[in-house]
């Protein structure tokens, strides 16, 4: 096993264990913290794939901004074991069954996808993930989709402010 493989297995195990802990932990604040661990592990994977920009932006946007807002809401609502509504057994069972079905579909789709059959992930090579190349790709080849998505973000921001102003 090379060093990269060891790191890969470590990060994968970390991501899966943390993701399970998000679901298992009883305390919502713990769940949020485990979710942050998942983001860190995924960023580690991005770095292994030589996509440094994506890795860092994943940390800034998800771990640094969105999760802080999650934490804000949870802390202000003061959710904890006592006040959390306990769902009954049937609801839990239904959740497990539907979640399992989704997992099965996803796994079978990924296994059958032609694009990734017999392909090996490129570790440490390729430079499309570096910031200069990514910027050129976004602003030359994909300029119109990029601009449209930025307009979408702007409208979402304006919408959030309008909703927030009502009260």
């Amino acid at each position: 096993m090379s060093a990269i493989q060891i790191i890969f297995w470590f990060l994968s195990a970390l991501a899966i264990v943390s993701a399970l802990m998000v679901l298992i932990s009883k305390n919502p604040v713990h769940s949020v913290l485990w979710l942050i661990m998942v983001f860190f592990a995924i960023s580690g994977h991005y770095i292994l794939l030589n996509a440094q920009f994506l890795a860092i932006v994943n940390l800034i946007v998800y771990a640094g901004a969105i999760m802080v807002l999650f934490l804000f809401v949870i802390m202000l609502m003061n959710l904890n074991n006592e006040s959390e509504p306990q769902k009954n057994v049937w609801m839990r069972l239904a959740g497990a069954v539907s979640g399992g079905c989704l997992l099965m579909i996803l796994v079978s789709l990924v296994r059958q996808a032609i694009e990734i059959n017999n392909k090996v992930a490129e570790m440490k090579v390729g430079d499309i993930g570096l910031i200069g190349n990514l910027g050129k790709a976004l602003f030359k080849d994909y300029l119109v989709p990029f601009e449209i998505s930025s307009v979408l973000f702007l409208s979402a921001m304006v919408g959030a402010i309008v909703i927030g102003k009502k009260n």
Binding site: M1, S2, A3, V29, L33, Q52, I56, I60, G64, A65
Partner: protein
């Protein structure tokens, strides 16, 4: 098994030693910053400051540290214990992690090896700093929440919203700088400023520097933006329930943050380890590295003094004033600076 872990062990040891040196140096400097803070406060308030432990009181930080370690450690009964302990640890490690991308000097030649005085010159250097800074908020938030105290929680929320608000203006002000440098690598940014005929970035982007400086004050929770520690409104702040070295970690991480943000500002705007009017390439590498480190440290100390000077001169902002300044003044100003810089680069230099 000979191919197991095909790592360049020499490089690994070299980097580990460098990391150890930088972390211990940061801790030592932060230790003496507490002494400097009290001395500066003393001078500004026309009193001697600490002068009992050793000549000029230079052993005062050790006395303070010993006091913090020896004090009784109290973990509140109703607190969330694991997170209560995690909080200060997170604050401290986030503060120390930033120093990985700062170029402390060019390179030294030791034992026939060419050792770069930077732990990692990564492609997205300045974004890494932002990522670590945004993760640093969790130290305050988790600590404040886990204490299970209303004042701590309020202070933590204040601190987090302040940090998020000012990160925005900080990022926008930096975009203008990055447009002129054309790279995010901190090592490369310093080398550009060292090139003959090229001034320090402060000359090209003075407005961006002022915005960045104000935001750095807010990010470090320093006066006039130390709202999370506003003792007149919040008893003590987010670390109210903390005692002993856990409190020490919070206080200490603030000083390390100050040190690192000074280092980042020097690197981005004041030429990093560049000595003005001196061509470093004429000196032998080791001498040049030494001169560079001394130059960098001198600039950093000037900034740290500025931080302290401001703290003992300007009163604290009110919270709504803080938010108004961040969102209604600094963000539009940074956006305007960004647009003007972009227009000048496009029309004037035709890049």
């Amino acid at each position: 098994m000979t191919t197991l872990l095909a790592i360049d062990w020499a490089l690994l040891t070299e980097k580990l030693i460098l990391i150890a040196i930088i972390i211990f140096a940061s801790l030592g400097i932060a230790l003496y910053m507490t002494y400097g803070e009290r001395k500066v406060a003393g001078i500004l308030q026309d009193r001697p400051g600490p002068n009992r432990a050793g000549p000029f009181g230079i052993f005062q930080p050790f006395a303070d540290g010993l006091k913090l370690i020896m004090k009784e450690e109290i973990i509140p009964d109703t607190s969330n214990k694991a997170l209560f302990i995690l909080g200060p640890g997170l604050a401290m490690s986030a503060a120390l992690m930033t120093c990985a991308v700062v170029p402390w000097g060019d390179h030294v030649e030791l034992f026939g090896r060419n050792i770069a005085l930077q732990i990692a010159d990564i492609n997205v250097g300045i974004l890494y700093v932002f990522a670590v800074v945004s993760v640093g908020v969790y130290g305050i938030m988790i600590g404040g929440w886990a204490s299970n105290n209303k004042f701590s929680l309020l202070a933590a929320l204040r601190g987090a919203s302040q940090a998020i608000s000012y990160e925005l203006a900080m990022g926008l002000s930096l975009i203008a700088v990055l447009m002129t440098t054309g790279t995010l690598q901190l090592g490369e940014i310093v080398k550009q400023q060292m090139a003959p005929g090229h001034l320090w970035n402060i000359a090209y982007q003075p407005l961006a520097f002022i915005i960045f400086l104000v935001c750095a004050f807010a990010e470090c929770n320093r006066t006039p933006f130390d709202l999370p520690e506003a003792e007149s409104e919040l008893n003590q702040g987010y670390h109210q329930e903390y005692s002993s070295m856990k409190l020490g970690f919070y206080l200490f991480s603030e000083y390390i943050n100050m040190f690192i943000s000074s280092a980042i500002m020097v690197t981005l705007f004041f030429g990093g380890y560049d000595v003005p009017f001196l061509n470093e390439s004429l000196l032998s590498p080791n001498i040049a590295a030494l001169v560079g480190i001394i130059a960098l440290m001198t600039k950093i100390v000037c900034f740290i003094f500025f931080f302290m000077w401001v703290r003992w001169t300007i009163p604290r902002f009110r919270y709504d004033q803080l938010m108004n300044l961040g969102w209604k003044k600094l963000v539009p100003l940074a956006l305007a600076n960004m647009l003007i810089t972009g227009a000048v680069i496009l029309l004037w230099f035709n890049k």
